[in-house]
Amino acid sequence: MPDSLINDPVNPAVNPVEPFLRSDRMPSIWCPGCGIGTTVNSFARALIDSKIDLQSLALVSGIGCTGRVAGYVKLDSFHTTHGRAIPFATGLKLANPKLNVIVYSGDGDLSAIGGNHLIHAARRNIDLKVICVNNLIYAMTGGQTAPTTPEHSTTSTNPYGVFEPAFNLPHLVEAAGAVYVARWTTFHVRQLTRSIGEAFQKKGFSFIEVISPCPTLYQRRNKMGDGLDAMKFYKEKSKVRNGAPTSEVGLTMTGEIVVGKFVDRERPDYQTLMRAQYAESLGERFVEQAEMVCS
């Protein structure tokens, strides 16, 4: 696509990210004011900026509102089972290391039903780029409590208020071994775009959390207004603290939202370690994995 088209200020009718989307599937199922589409915009812009080979990309989603991202991007895309986007993506990456594999899913999918896979993929340092859209609630099923739902907010399964503590996802994945950890809100579209681009440069398990509004369920039930109110809220409450200790970035219902790039470190990824181990132990008997296309 010509650059002139992408950044054409006089022709706003052309959406620059349109070539990355399956326009035959529009409109999307997402509600007015939902933040997921905003994150997809940032993702598409990051693809443009990074000049990454689109054919090398595979995008994997689990189940939920964010799980539908796989269905809207014009890439090899996999809408898998609930919680299992990461292990599916692991199989793609290990069988074809040339692929750039993105996991794009929601907070409930990745950290509740898929929580075990999340920490183990981070521990192994599988070379995956995980974009976790955190709307603080189970939205597709109608507003139930998620592991990320802040205490004292109300959900359909905690109608008298959530009393169980929430996960601090950046802290969790850093402890498990992620090499790149960042958090933004859907208010921070440029920063988010930049972070996704940075994650593409990293080899290893990268995790970007995007705080995103669910006006239909979380906002409404907690009297937090609509999508625009969410943007105002994010703008007001967000504090950019790059390098902040992840132990200090837990979210509360109305408190500060610490955003920024928290972790950017080097650790050899799973396949690098695997090859090194085999080469050392097996010497000449080690055979590098050939391309697995068994056609």
Partner: protein
Amino acid sequence: MKADPRGVLTGVHFMDGDHACCEGALAAGSRFAAGYPITPSTEVVERFASRVPTVGGTFIQMEDELAASITLQGAVWAGAKAFTVTSGPGFSLMMEHIGYAAMTETPCVFVDVQRGGPSTGLPTLPAQADMMQARWGSHGDYEIIALCPNSPQECFNLTIKAFNLAEEFRVPVMFMMDECVGHMTEKVVIPPADQIEVVPRRHTHKPVDEYLPYETNGDLVPEMAHAGEGYNFHITGLTHDERGYPNMTPQIQDKLVRRLQNKILQAADRIAMFEEEQLEGADVVVVSYGITSRVAQRAIEAARGRGLRVGKLRLITAWPFPDKKIRELAAKVKAFVVPELNLGQMVREVERAAAGQAKTFAVPHAGGGVHNPEDILKVIVEAGRCQTA
């Protein structure tokens, strides 16, 4: 197409069923396995973990069976032939992804080395009590293929067959071993690679702009593309149209689910494999599979020694169930005797297919060991006395 010689351990071996299954997978061209340790199946992946880096491939031990059973499917969509291996409790956890493989038509193999259940049951002792779970364990309507080896040699031969069927029909194939066969050591002959037939992926030859992931032409099995080839395809476990896009209308559901069933059912006769013996003129036919077929053989021979006319039908393919074969036999024989290491699973299928034309006798066993051949003999004798239905 012939097997890649790098994966074929040509020679004569004294090997157990678990190891033979691994060699079968390698001979079939599998270079990817994801697993989770569970007795009595672990030896399959232990051997794969040791062998695969010397032939170019990957084994990963996942955090649980849920992960293992979907990781392998990611590998398939990247071009690999892949499998996982488990036993009862792990097989239960894998059900979700057997459904996903059926729905997305991901060719792959699930090996289940059956042990006694329910729950943790008998980790080190045999059963054949997952037969119905293999067929019906995931929700929704779908068909799978299931094979039952009865020796280490068959663990090798039929694992190759399992991969071939998976590729031919784009279906998850259940490889239903049992603890006895898995842990039994016998001579296993592995032929040269050029004598091993391997079915390649049904990869599309269409240009990118003409390819639809779930378009079929006549034989009901669509062509595949792999991630990274530029097809920009979409795969989902939701009900989908030929483009692979979610489309949740009753019409699309009907069309899709019927095709998923019919691609197997219409080929059932071609898929069916048996071992038959003295069926002609038999009064009683013993229907068995897996380890029980070997135990039953003793009883069959003892019954013949007493002058009874006893035939043997060993099911090598358990699913799709060979209705036609049982129906044909039911018209000629007095009774079927079905010994199995469960309290009555495949016997129901025999009874259903016989449709009252012949009587059906179960010889149940709760597992933990194999039948005493005497117990099978008693039922054969009883069945021989019964009046024709």
